[in-house]
Amino acid sequence: MSARITVSDLAAVYQMPGGDTLPALGPVSFHIEAGSFVCILGPSGCGKSTLIRLLAGIQRPSRGQAFLNDQSITQPARRVGLMFQDANLMPWRTVLDNLVLPLEVAGVPKSERLAAARALLPALGLADFEAAYPGELSGGMAQRVALGRVLIQKPDALLLDEPFGALDAMTRERISLDLLDMWERQRQTVLMVTHDIHEAVLLADRVLVFSRRPGRIAADIRVSLPRPRRLEDTYGALFGQIAGQVRAAISQA
């Protein structure tokens, strides 16, 4: 149901137009246990998105390797769900048709994929919107559809690149708690990039803080808050202490 992620000596270098090279990431090495929720924080441009793209297999590393359950990542895999800051929905498809897209591509029969999508709608808070088009949705709702589109493939691992970064604070909190809820039930491995310390500590088992470009791991902080977590936990002393630790690590990074 969930997968281990191992990153070994992974680095990415971009070729610039003038012939220069731009080291964007690493080399980094780390290991993520199956079923754990890990958040990545770091300054802008330190290679977080690059890392996500490498792990998703849509970009090749310049050095090193990444593994999913001991299997080297060389191309995209259906067991990995990928989500970005923008919902990237297809504007010509309804909510329902956007949700079923991965199953459609995988060749799942129509009745099956519709059933799977309809089962997801309530948990996503989209029960009344299956026939709506993306242009008719708010930013938060669109992002929920994108989340559903990832979850419908029942992935072993989720790679989320600032999935709620474009949302306002309240929507963001609501939707991240919903994500937490769904994760508690499925326990996929999650690697999520965020800019929000509060969100990272609320969700994660572990927070990785990256240094400035080329990004390396500057701090690896365990979040020992008990689960299941609730919004009220964020007012506790332990939460504040861990958040402070993360903040300190970022300012030193």
Binding site: Q75, P76, V80, M90, P91, W92, V105
Partner: protein, 331 residues
């Protein structure tokens, strides 16, 4: 504005052809001058037809646009107003026309009265002549449109996907486009005869370029994020094509199709002007040589209606196919 720029560009292209002919050894200055003399009226006749068609296409729209404000209250009235405006405009044109005729500014064989034109229209509809010529032209228009659009779609997709093909084909295509169709239409007649084929080829050639550009722009404009998405889902090439590229490019393809629909009419008429034994272009030439001005006007108006209907049909299909666009902009 752009229409005039286009016009200017075309004339420059004609001049260039003339210059090339002048400096060409085998062709004497006199020959090329004669060629030019033949070409110019041909050009302007086609221009006028095309310009008329464009004007009438733009006319009702530009007048109604200010009325299409956000709809708050008084909806039925507004809608009625929008329906009536084009009719009102038409009535005004007819009125102006009638006034000019009544003032006898020009003799009747230059500007016949609306009634004379109507009478002519009834006659040629009655004896089946209009239908014969209109259906001939329509067949050429539809075939030209189909062939041109299809060729442009295939080639445009290839150019959008392959930089090699882009490098090889684009200069050729641009060169072809820079030469006015009217200039090489006689050549097409020599090659394909004066029947349907050459009209189809002329129409297809005129349609081809705008459709090609729209295809390339449409396919290149597919958001890279959505391409990544398809890649992450391990979509096959065919799936990416049919589930992403086609629907994503559809709005641009449709605007290309709408332009092409009216251009195809011009193309067919160009073919008929140069050489034909049937069709509205042929009818216009024939009527003009007999000073039957009402018949010229009837034929021109038929072309206008034909182009307008084709455009309307394309818009209708577009609205059906892209229903999600209007849904998205609802609130």
């Amino acid at each position: 504005m752009t229409v005039w720029m286009e016009e200017g560009k075309r004339y420059c292209a004609v001049l260039r052809v003339v210059l090339v002919l002048c400096t060409w050894d085998g062709v004497s200055l006199r020959t090329s001058f004669r060629l030019c003399l033949v070409m110019m009226p041909c050009c302007s006749a086609v221009r006028t037809t095309g310009f008329l068609i464009m004007q009438l296409n733009a006319f009702p729209k530009s007048l109604t646009r200010p009325l299409a404000l956000p709809q708050i209250g008084r909806r039925p009235l507004r809608r009625l107003g929008r329906r009536l405006t084009p009719l009102l405009a038409l009535a005004l044109v007819l009125l102006g026309w009638q006034v000019v005729v009544l003032l006898e500014v020009y003799p009747a064989f230059i500007i016949p009265s609306p009634a004379a034109v109507l009478e002519k229209a009834v006659t040629v509809v009655g004896d089946g002549r209009l239908w014969l010529h209109a259906s001939t032209t329509l067949a050429a228009v539809l075939a030209g449109l189909g062939v041109g659009v299809l060729a442009a779609l295939v080639l445009g997709y290839a150019i959008a996907k392959s930089s090699l093909l882009d490098a090889v084909l684009s200069p050729l295509v641009v060169a072809l486009q820079s030469t006015p169709v009217v200039a090489y239409a006689p050549l097409l007649i020599i090659w394909f005869g004066s029947g349907l084929t050459s009209k189809i080829v002329t129409g297809a050639l005129i349609v081809f370029f705008p459709m090609l550009i729209n295809t390339v722009v449409g396919i290149r404009g597919v958001p890279s994020e959505l391409r990544d998405l398809m890649r992450a889902m391990q979509a096959t090439r065919w799936q990416t094509f049919i589930k992403l590229e086609v629907p994503a490019a559809m709005p641009v393809l449709f605007s290309g199709l709408k332009i092409s629909a009216t251009l195809a009419v011009i193309g067919a008429v160009v073919g008929e002007f140069v050489s034909a034994n049937a069709g509205l272009g042929f009818l216009i030439n024939l009527a003009r040589s007999q000073y039957d001005t009402p018949l010229v006007i009837v034929a021109v108006l038929t072309l206008t209606v034909m182009a307008r209907l084709l455009y309307g049909l394309a818009s209708l299909v577009e609205r059906r196919a892209l229903a999600w666009q209007s849904r998205a902009r609802r609130d």
